[in-house]
């Protein structure tokens, strides 16, 4: 279809532009690196202080699931809706469409609250996955097959990962506070992957970096963050 082609070409053009405009950031500005190039069609991002309170969010979501608690949902909405909207806009979703999609994401939160498993993911992570999948459904031709936890073909876990699993909400909090401490070139990799829809090969092309450099930066970033959730007392 011509319109799709146009869309694709436009995306490529944007990628090239972004590549040329990729800023060199002074060291120590991890937060600024995460906020993206100044050209991004969004608010000039200052990254907010993390306000995750995993227990509180999980309790609110549980109240939504168990009691259809509207006040609890409204509290979750007020916290997460502006973040979901920010995420969608970052990913080059038209603001009007972003507001529409954000509403669908938050309605899904309400409807699927009983499917939330606090041992697998923190609340922000769970909402992130809903927003991610909803955006892919809408914005891309690509489908995204999901892992189905009830798939009989699933190779079972050898044993419950007791220590790791219980702390799923805790990870989020630790990662959120550690992200700001990443070296800028590592934080940039995560921003491009999670908030700009770039695969690691896209990132290499965009920044004119060898694939090996992109891989090692990603792995270093993950390694640093991993140490945050593995050294749980």
């Amino acid at each position: 279809m011509p319109s799709d082609m146009q869309h694709v070409n436009q995306r490529h053009a944007e990628r090239r532009l972004a590549g040329e405009g990729a800023p060199r950031l002074p060291a120590g500005l991890a937060a600024a690196a995460l906020a993206g190039p100044a050209k991004a069609p969004v608010e000039t991002g200052v990254w907010a202080e993390s306000t995750i309170d995993p227990d509180r969010f999980a309790a609110l979501l549980k109240a939504v699931a168990a009691k259809r608690d509207r006040a609890a949902f409204a509290t979750l909405f007020d916290h997460f809706a502006p973040r979901v909207k920010a995420y969608l806009i970052r990913l080059r979703t038209e603001p009007a469409v972003a507001e529409e999609l954000m509403q669908e994401v938050m309605l899904t939160v309400w409807r699927r609250a009983d499917g939330y498993d606090p041992t697998r993911a923190g609340v922000a992570t769970w909402i992130f996955t809903i927003a991610r999948n909803r955006r892919i459904d809408t914005a891309r031709r690509d489908r995204r097959p999901e892992l189905d936890p009830s798939d009989p073909a699933l190779t079972p876990e050898p044993s419950p990962l007791a220590d790791a699993v219980v702390l799923a909400g805790e990870w989020e909090q630790r990662i959120a506070s550690a992200i700001g401490e990443l070296p800028p070139e590592q934080a940039q990799m995560l921003r491009l992957a999670y908030f700009e829809d770039r695969s690691h090969s896209d990132i290499a092309a965009l920044l004119h970096l060898p694939m090996g450099t992109v891989k090692s930066r990603l792995r270093l970033a993950i390694g640093r963050l991993r140490s945050k959730f593995e050294n749980v007392p």
Binding site: S50, A81, R132, P156, Q173, I222
Partner: protein
Amino acid sequence: MKPTHHLSDEWLIDYAAGAAPEPVSVLVATHLALCPDCRASYRRLEAIGGALLEVASPVAVGAAARESVLARLDDPVPIPAAMPTPPANFPSQLPRPLRDYVPNGLAALSWQRLGRGAAIAWLRCASTTPYKMLMLRIAAGGSVPRHTHRGNELVLVLQGAYVDHLGRFGPGDVAIADDSIDHRPIADKGEDCFCLAVVDAPIRFTGVFSRLLNPLLRR
């Protein structure tokens, strides 16, 4: 039985972040279904998405949008589409993420011979990326002609096993090859080996006779 050859972080990140093209998503999700170790890593990578969402500076949501959501909480919930039943023939254990792409079973795919011991069948997907997805069948004891790659190649074993200079690859194992690798996988004698492969550039066969096969793969 747990896999021993895993996906590396960058592929799991692509999928966790939502940036993986469809064929890569299919392969990663299928490996995750077969690999508890990578599932554990993957959950942590999704948590990075949650953490980034948390620290993203919020964009104001209009009062109308808020009211609209709160007013729709009691709307009837759309019924999700029923899961298609898995194909009756082999492989009964085809993981869920792959099933839609092989709706009528492996036998119904249009297989193209690749030398004497192997065959491939392209799998359709809507993606417009350079990545292509195919099933590879290596007959028991047979081999894929020697070849090199001009890009990424990911191979996930679904049934049976093969051996090449990198080692032995059984069910759930992933082999990640790039243009530096020239290899000739040989299947175990016991059973046919079925693999899901994702390539981002045509594979090039390097053996004297198998060069003749190259046009077959140019798609």
